[in-house]
Subunit: 233 residues, 2 copies
Amino acid sequence: MTIPDDALTILRTRSLSGVLEREIEKAILGGEIPPGKRVNENHLAIRFGTSRGPVREALRALEGLGLVELVPNRGVFIRQPAVEEAIEIYDVRTVLFGLAGKLLAERVSEAEVARLRDYLEQMEAAARHRDFDRYYPLNLAFHEFIIDACGNGTLAAQYRGLVKKLHLFRARSLVQGGGLEVSNSEHREMVEAIAARDPERAQCAHSDHVARAKARLLAAYRKAEAPPSRLTS
Amino acid sequence: MTIPDDALTILRTRSLSGVLEREIEKAILGGEIPPGKRVNENHLAIRFGTSRGPVREALRALEGLGLVELVPNRGVFIRQPAVEEAIEIYDVRTVLFGLAGKLLAERVSEAEVARLRDYLEQMEAAARHRDFDRYYPLNLAFHEFIIDACGNGTLAAQYRGLVKKLHLFRARSLVQGGGLEVSNSEHREMVEAIAARDPERAQCAHSDHVARAKARLLAAYRKAEAPPSRLTS
DNA sequence: AAATTGCAAACTGTTGACAGTTTTCCATTA
DNA sequence: TAATGGAAAACTGTCAACAGTTTGCAATTT
């Protein structure tokens, strides 16, 4: 690359269609426009006070991220991942997060280890008090930190894209309630492996963590799907 | 997804900006527009007989694929990955291809095993005759087949995106010459592991294959970079 | 009453034009 | 001759309008 990443990000944000891309993405991920629904170019253009050109450009960019689907002459629709796709995403996330753990274990600094331990402590405190509102953002930041600190920007970009897509999966919310302590014991093993600078162990700990999250999601999903009609199963 | 993938692909290709996206991508990956160079929207519009609108949409889509870079008020530039990024990509490819091998080993059919063995045989024949022109497309098809047959479309999409990005790495050509037999013994182990329906072994064989390809590329790169000025190293 | 056909409104796809910025080139000056 | 400054050309960013398609509605028919 000729241009540094951060400078580029700033510049991209300044461009109109760049801003639109982020705003529309926010509207989609925030659930303002529900999955499956058609997006109206005109409404968006009016809402943001621009013409339809930049809106269309932004939507084409979001298509590349897999958040919307373009159907010729009918418009763009918010994507609605089926369970099968959610499983696919979790499988890919599993190996990506495993790689992040491995790479981080190879290069982690003392300061970063301290930071990880701090996250862990705060999460454990929140879990003990069953304070989910505090736990959730901490959990998010903890994972983000690992993805960023591993030093592989390509991995980070891909991982973030997958997480965004998962936000469109309707059953995602199912898993949020359960397993605060379970999840945290996995976090502890991850941090220990990183602190020990053991890449292989870290890779296992990290990929296992996501694999178990997948299992928890699927269990919750099947539980929510099956009971209404037991005869069909 | 509400709409089947293949139908959507056909429809997308019919839309003008969809066609443009593919054509421009072809021009970029074919080396017609060299990395680092600016793309002229007007020239492209004239060349394809359209206005600039669809061209801009296509370019925004290509930005999402990581093939071009948008710089406000200056235009889009063909990306030029540095060695560091190539390494990042190889590391991600390593785990993705490993996952493909694992998934394939879990679900492979007899017909698919036969097809893999066929590829292997043809590649070995080509390698014995040092017929690189025959070996290269076979090698490509072999890898494509594995990626497709593993049954994870998300993985396939991500993997293909990474391979496209690698095409923009100038030193990519360095590695093409060497290691036909070496590479093929790795292929044999991959196929054997899949045929044995051993997911773990297949995962190792597949990720090792890419990891070794990375090592070969880096070795060739350092060899090509270092000698001209030994004092600077 | 249900289904069907035709019309009108809404929306997408594309275009050409205009405003603002960047780049290039040439004339001027040290 | 090299450097500098400025004007013109080129190009990007954005917009408004038009053509073609889809969708929704109402009248008509069975």
